[in-house]
């Protein structure tokens, strides 16, 4: 997917490689070891103001190894990407285990960094897309370099993946014709949420299939509308601390997660049972929607996050991602009402 925007002053190229089966601990060590391996004078010198970063996360029931390379657009300096991506291809597209540092010290640092960055949360427990994988700490500590190298080779050979370019318009193809994957991640089936957790109630909403950017935005705001209503119901009845978040699960499902102490979960379920969305709930959803959409336009990180969600769903927003698009109030409320009727509390 190619998204042109002058908003951020940088070129960002992301390549995602997908494996259905992999050891999550090894995935985490691999991403960490790749980051360690890139910290050489040679790479730093070549990148100058640019950055290269690797991470791994859950997606569509498998694991993604993501490479992100970003470079500010400047005049007069020779950066790795300034000659349209010739050198970058070595790092981004033709990545294989030969770039890995395989000495014990580098592996130890990689493990230490991976351990300090473990961010498993409720998203991980639910196996949501983009969540950090749930890992076995002992397995991470005992990860062997041979297994990490093997995993890297498996990711390199994977024919499932996708590519994103986000940045200023270029005369030439900004991806240098490197469509290296025969199967796109968006073609894979999404995983459904099977149950809530001890610390959260999950409300799954089902709507019509989202097939373009406009229907995606409408779906997004309608889910927010239901979420805001649930917030209102809890606030008006109870006085306990909770956290609520919402999102799109796949092209026809949304989710709302309400987390709190386990003793409050039955009360949350009770509040949700009284769910009924009206016109009045639109305003709160509009505020949330506008804030999120504006932040996507203002922050390159948020824009990338959103672009990757769209890429996973196979929706091309084109340049519309960089301008807040209003959704029709009546349509939002109508869809939110329909979604609230479809709710399934886990």
């Amino acid at each position: 997917m190619i998204l042109y925007s002058e908003n951020y002053g940088e070129r960002i190229v992301i390549v995602r490689r997908y494996l259905k089966d992999a050891c999550p601990s090894n995935c985490l060590v691999l991403a960490s070891l790749l980051n360690v391996s890139m910290k050489t004078k040679e790479v730093t010198k070549m990148l100058k103001g640019g950055h290269i970063f690797f991470r791994t996360y859950c997606l569509k029931g498998g694991y993604v190894l993501e490479t992100k390379i970003s470079q500010p657009k400047t005049k007069g300096l020779v950066f790795v990407l300034s000659d349209p991506y010739k050198k970058a291809t070595e790092y981004v597209f033709d990545l294989d285990s030969s770039v890995l540092k395989t000495d014990e010290h580098s592996l130890a640092i990689a493990k230490e960094n991976a351990l300090s960055r473990i961010s498993a949360d409720i998203h991980s427990d639910l196996g949501l897309d983009f969540a950090s994988p749930v890992i076995d700490i002992d397995a991470l500590k005992n990860a062997m370099i041979e297994d990490i190298v093997k995993l890297m080779d498996e990711f390199s050979k994977s024919e499932i993946g996708d590519v994103l370019y986000l940045g200023p318009s270029e005369k030439k193809d900004p991806l240098y014709g490197k469509d290296i994957f025969s199967k796109k991640i968006s073609e894979l089936e999404s995983e459904s949420i099977k149950s809530g957790t001890d610390a959260a109630k999950v409300i799954v909403l089902t709507g019509d299939k989202v097939n373009d950017y406009d229907s995606y935005l409408l779906f997004k705001q309608a889910i927010m509308c239901v979420s805001k209503k649930i917030e209102k119901l809890i606030d008006s009845t109870y006085d306990f601390e909770y956290r609520i978040e919402d999102g799109i699960l796949d092209d026809s499902h949304g989710y709302i997660i309400v987390s709190s102490n386990d003793s409050n979960l039955p009360l949350i379920e009770k509040a949700v049972s009284r769910l009924s969305v009206t016109d009045e709930d639109y305003v709160a959803s509009l505020l949330a929607y506008n804030r999120i959409e504006l932040n996507i336009c203002l922050s390159p990180d948020k824009a990338v996050e959103e672009a990757l969600k769209l890429l996973s769903l196979g929706i091309d927003s084109k340049d519309e991602l960089f301008k807040v698009k209003e959704c029709d109030k009546e349509k939002v409320v109508k869809l939110a009402v329909a979604l609230s009727h479809s709710k399934e509390v886990l």
């Binding site: 002058e6 908003n7 951020y8 940088e10 500010p72 400047t74 005049k75 506008n290 203002l298 960089f322």
Partner: protein, 416 residues
């Protein structure tokens, strides 16, 4: 309109002074974002004793900014697709508006309407006070904030810089609506304001829109300043140890700069260019410094250069227990600061700085903020960036040599 263009940066801007004294900066950028900053050249640096014979308490600038841009106004703007935020530093207050719609000037107009009016009562001040007391109490029990706060106090004898940026819980209770209204009448006036606008539009068209806006009236008030007698050659306290409430120990190391006028005499405007890379080159990105700190089983968690009035200081906060080892190392490190930054590190950093500046300049959202931040030193951001990029290594080293003479303080907040 005066056009300024630092070619390599590819970001010309236009400046205009309106008849009411308002400085306007217009920065055309190719982007879907449209941003503006209403800049008030008064921040939390509490050098005002009274206005029209009424006492002004610390924290007034911070309270007023948050009462003007309250949740009601923020939500009203957000409903129209405009994100509004306010930043209050020691030197200025900046209201920033951003949208991708066609209503930026309507949003500026709405904000100016609020700035021009004084439609708030003691009840609204009390409501903000109630919220802010929680923030202040949290800060006062946070070991990191505590170490920074006491370091500022240890650095200065008399300057308002010793009180930091945000009011403490005691100061919060002394702020009242009547004093805020006097403060607003005195400082929220065109002659003490600037408007910075950036969008994909011709500067001429932008200034025409600016001229249609309704600004507050210029009012001259009797402003009584505090007598600030500060000795910049020494600190009020070199070392202080206090018991914190957290599970980790933190310490903050402060470096007090000479009075701004004295540095200016020695280095001229270049002192501001030296400030730009100083913290990164000497501390934050200096691998040798960081690994030596790590060897002392400590970690640098923040490093900032703070400026207000005649004062400037560096605040370095560490997490660790062996404060003595780090202080000894710091004394040694700062005995020859000019030797800590190699020419190759300097060159490579400046290239990174240039790349970063280009990114800042690309977006209207970040460019208006950058211009606002550099206004207190009367320098346009593009000028600051362009001069920093051209900075000479040997001149920078001369500035570093001076640093060894600057007095220092350290405050250690021991874990509970």
């Amino acid at each position: 309109m005066l056009k300024s263009d630092y070619g390599k940066l590819g970001c010309p801007f236009y400046a205009e002074k309106l008849d009411n004294g308002l400085n306007v900066y217009l920065i055309p950028r190719k982007s879907t974002i449209k941003s503006a900053v209403v800049h008030i050249s008064k921040g939390t640096y509490a050098d005002t004793k009274s206005i029209s014979f009424g006492k002004i308490n610390d924290g007034s600038a911070y309270f007023l900014a948050n009462i003007i841009l309250d949740d009601e106004l923020k939500n009203r703007l957000l409903m129209d697709g405009v994100l509004a935020t306010v930043e209050v530093t020691s030197s200025f207050t900046a209201f920033r508006l951003s949208t991708t719609g066609d209503n930026l000037f309507e949003a500026i107009s709405l904000l100016l309407e609020r700035i021009s009016s004084q439609n708030y009562s003691e009840d609204e001040v009390n409501a903000f006070r109630k919220l802010d007391v929680l923030r202040a109490l949290e800060d006062e029990s946070d070991s990191i904030e505590l170490s920074k706060r006491f370091t500022r106090k240890a650095l200065y004898f008399n300057s308002p810089s010793q009180n930091g940026n945000l009011p403490d819980s005691a100061a919060i209770n002394l702020i009242h609506a009547t004093a805020l209204k006097r403060f607003q009448e005195c400082y929220y006036v065109p002659k003490r304001m600037a408007l910075i606008v950036s969008m994909e539009e011709d500067a001429k068209k932008m200034v025409d829109e600016v001229r249609k806006l309704k600004f507050p009236r210029n009012v001259t008030m009797k402003e009584d300043k505090k007598d600030i007698i500060e000795d910049h050659t020494k600190v009020s306290q070199e070392y202080l140890e206090i018991k914190g409430k957290g599970s980790l120990s933190y310490f903050t190391y402060g470096i007090k700069f000479p009075a701004r006028k004295d540095l200016y005499t020695g280095f001229g405007e270049a002192m501001f260019y030296y400030y730009e890379p100083l913290i990164d080159l000497l501390f934050k990105k200096n691998q040798s410094f960081l690994s030596n700190i790590q060897d002392k089983r400590a970690e640098l968690i923040s490093a900032t250069l703070e400026e207000s009035g005649e004062d400037a200081h560096i605040i370095l906060t560490f997490c660790g227990d062996d404060v003595k080892a780090v202080c000894n190392y710091m004394a040694d490190y700062l005995s020859a600061p000019e030797k800590r930054v190699s020419s190759s590190f300097f060159d490579s950093y400046i290239k990174d700085y240039y790349a970063n500046a280009m990114q800042v300049l690309a977006s209207p959202y970040s460019v208006v903020e950058a211009f606002s931040s550099s206004l207190p030193n009367h320098i346009a951001y593009t000028s600051l960036a362009a001069h920093t990029i051209r900075m000479n290594y040997n001149n920078f080293r001369k500035f570093l040599t001076e640093l060894k003479r600057f007095p220092r303080s350290c405050v250690y907040v021991r874990k509970a």
